[in-house]
Symmetry: D3
Subunit: 249 residues, 6 copies
């Protein structure tokens, strides 16, 4: 299968790192493809930025339909996830959703540890959008500051793991997700973690592989049936054409 | 106060009708302004269309900041509502949210009656996004088809009111929202309704007036504090500039 | 419209202050009337006192039907609110409910800051009665004591605002309600608040104005249809007569 | 123990019947006392009537403090229950609450079958006030009309049992409460019921006996600690005096 | 009635103590019987141990059917409770469930205080299995260690009561359950408790007495109807025979 | 990886069929092993049978520790799942849980279609145990009877698919799980399904593969840390020894 790692941020270095992490866990017969947002933001970190980036996700998938078998939206808050599922007939997976669902099989309650407080409310909305509020133990963020979002995983490594330990000890978490694209792979590299750790990009690519076998045409019934063809104006070409075209035509 | 009715659809006739209905209920000292989407869709009716339209809402408000005191997002599913609240320091109100909150003061349980099944799942997500799932009695849609979305309020009037009656009788609703921009004003014009009816555009403009008095700077603390200035690329001019600029600068 | 501010406490000074605050926010065409409980308690602050005061609310409205267009029950825990909605065919609004619903448009999560711990459980029940438990961040009360309930807003001003700041910083609130009739107006008078503040009496009168336009006959269907005429004995005159009389007769 | 069956309705025949049913299930060492409301309504059946009757419950208990060891509020919607628990230092039990909690040990989901639609919303609020919404399967009411509330148990017997059967078959109930004071005892007298039936007055007296052993001083901590002495005016003598007096004095 | 106190642990001394506590609260006409697990664990304290012990509960009841009128499963996490209710046609009560339901009549929110952290997650699952999550204030465990589980009630008495006080003061609990079989009776013996305390074995035997009057045949409809006869192999004799036999045969 | 398909039923033909279905979807580097219950029931279908079978699951895994890398508990209601996760340090996956979590990535709401009403309550408890009640649209069962549980997938094929269609049309489901071991593989073989279908055994093996990469040591922190060594008596040899032995020893 051809699996697209779609980064709705403009930072190509982050896309590459996520692809490298993904390559460690994919099945032998999975081919990895990547895409990085051609416009928008270096790193989205607010509801407003996610609103804009979610529209970009639709545009980037529309441009690649027919050349990929499944998509991972590779930004932790899953911008545009449900809209993409409705519009396209292949599996679409989000890092936040995939890591939460994976965590649900590793304990009763999970915590999220991430690196900047700005992101917490957006992440919390992902939890509630998934209906998993009763499984969340806590969202924890180190107080330490950092210099570079690209290197935050090294700068804050000790602080992040300390928060993971507190999530288990103080918040009754069984599992801890290390969330945010810049932390990709960190969970896989810790030998003596104080918690069972989940790496979102790994979880997402494995879930995409699972869906590609279990439901290769993705979501496509009920409220996720592809909407009827709709005239539109001023949209990016591929997306506008896809929306204007009847399914199957 | 200057109150903007912002229609994220391209259909100007619908904007005008909503403004006319609004003019019947506003306070003497409220001035109504309108805006209609310059691109996008004639009438949004899917999650994907709302993802795109929500980004348009941000763009349209950015272009008008400084000239309006409050905004009503005049499409029933409230596209872009939370993102707009985060980004701008004036009250922003959505028709779905405002009509649900208003209904909560007219009974314990409300139903939503609208005219096309496509919209139901999107509307249901609005209910849950507001945390009001326990107050919802039902979403009901007439089986009858109609010719024109602009005239659906007349074509389906009897059928819509019959569903409102069933919501009270069969679903234990106390109040019924007639949802969807094309039904604007209908709730105000029925004399012998089988239920207490709520008109979304009326509810939204009155809520915007209330916020303009109670919290004239809108949402602005906690997770709705305006995000830090963020570099960006390829965004519409006013929106890109707004996001790139520090608050207060 | 004629809007009645009904104080179910016996303290007329509090009624006057609330009316003064209300007068700052009402629309030009709203006329304010007031009523103060003729018996009961100087200031209700327990479930038992609210049970008694709620019956007083019904009695006081019954005595004024025909002379007012909407009622604000001006005690923060909304005693008698649902019973009044059921019995009378005009909008009836409670300060707790109105301030919570208003807060829901100013962020995702609200906190309540008030001045005495006795009231917290009763207020918490108001939150759950409204089905808004998932939107509540915290209830906070300063540890400081005060001398006079009538002057508590000045005595504890700094402490109350400090708690509002902690609600945002520590409890992830986006909005803070300053609850309890003795704090009326305080939220409107703070220039540099650490949170978006909601003033309950202001919120309530604006919501009453909104309902008077959107649903001038108030709640009146489903479980809020006026009950059939019921014989009764030993009730205050106006209330007994109202309950004994068939609607429309 | 001296157990008071307190009927907040004025119909003494109903009090007597409930006492007779109670006498069949009490332990040998339980003494039954009764009280019937001296004013108010023949049979309360609305929120407004319950608001008034709840205040009567406080008054009636205040008059009997020192002569009873526990109280059953013998009207199905439990008027004044929480207020009474707060004010008095003996166990106070409600028929609706007691029958629901009892039902929770006889299956996962319970239904309520009663005889008049007016009462359903009030009963539903009792379920939610108890936090037991997830255990409720349905509320069912026969369509048949009846002549006398005192004889409704005989007139509608077949229809009520048919609804109990449907609750199990169609609504996935495991247990059925036959709710409403006029049905007292019916559940105990059916040999071939299509469901496990719960009789509210029986459940309530057994729960009162249980509390009298497990916590003979009733609720009395946290938010149910007796409120501080409070001056008051115009209240019935015993109640006014009780509220004005400090606990222990 | 013949009431069986069934201890799914192997420690007979604990069975005896629970029977002694039970004897203080039962009605004059209740006869107490006991049973102690013949195999398994001295004291179960994990999900895995409860899974095994729950099967033992079924086996122990099957051996005694016809000789007892009701059963109390006397281990705090209620192992095998729902399975036993489904299989046998007499009331079956669990200590955790019974103490929570009893606590619900002594306040709005209850806390659980117990003596070892291992048990907390299992107890929390009991709360959620009962659908009572919204009534739980906290689970609290003293930090102090102890030498003997049989004497923990004396060793940690002060620490346990201190936690009960904190539950009321810091967690807004109204009632506190002292959970875990080794604490049996402690709640009854404290004169100056900082909270209303519930003793689980007392609560359970009183609830079993209540059910024996209200529903002497126990759960038996809907999803708790006895399953059809099922062939089986390798099960303990009495249990295997009971499951293989059609109800009524 | 070595993946064990553990059938807690005694019917080997069912184990074989599930292994055959699993072999169609596993990755090239996954080796499938199987185990069938040596005692118990031909096909478990009640809470009581699941209580017994859950203990068998623990016993069967204990006997195979060291020879497998992950386990799928191959009975739809997931007997013993949480206990196994707590006790063993490899991933353990249940068919019900895995299919629900998979369904959550294929739409907002899922339905379960299965073949016999006995199983519905047990399955419903699986949904709530997973905290996914808000995602469930319905549980549907054909009215038609069948002769053989081994052939039910062919006998009821048309009826099952009709119910799947109704789940989408009438219950607003987006996805449908065909639940129950005897239906294994059916979802994969339908070309023109009226819904997106999920096959539980396929979902479970793919989830086990995912966990084996993301968290190869399974659940192991917080409340799922392996319990301390515990003496025991009368347990099956391997299980007794495992429980009696300290982790790491």
């Amino acid at each position: 299968m051809r699996l697209l790692i779609l980064n709705p941020n403009m930072t190509a270095a982050m896309t590459e790192r996520m692809a490298e992490v993904a390559s460690r866990v994919v099945a032998p017969d999975t081919e990895l493809l990547t895409a990085t947002a051609p416009r928008g933001f270096p790193y989205i970190s607010s509801r407003a930025e996610a609103q804009v980036a979610g529209a970009l996700v639709l545009e980037m998938i529309a441009e690649r339909m027919g050349t990929v078998d499944a998509v991972v939206v590779a930004a932790y808050g899953d911008p545009g996830l449900r809209a993409a599922r409705e519009l396209f007939d292949i599996p679409v997976v989000g890092m936040a959703e995939a890591s939460m669902l994976t965590a649900c099989m590793l304990g009763e309650r999970f915590s999220l540890v991430t690196f900047t407080a700005n992101l917490a409310p957006w992440y919390l909305e992902s939890v509630h959008a998934a209906g998993l509020g009763s499984r969340l133990a806590s969202i924890r963020i180190p107080h330490e500051s950092f210099r570079s979002v690209l290197d935050v995983r090294n700068e804050l490594r000790a602080a992040l793991l300390a928060e993971a330990g507190r999530a288990v000890k103080d918040d009754q978490a069984d599992v801890v997700i290390l969330g945010g694209a810049p932390l990709a792979g960190l969970a896989l590299e810790v030998d003596d973690a104080p918690a069972v750790l989940v790496d979102p990009i790994s979880a997402a690519v494995k879930q995409a592989e699972a869906l590609a076998r279990v439901a290769p045409r993705g979501a496509g019934a009920g409220s996720f049936a592809r909407p009827p063809a709709k005239p539109n104006q001023g949209l990016p070409d591929a997306l506008g054409a896809w929306i204007a075209r009847e399914a199957g035509s």
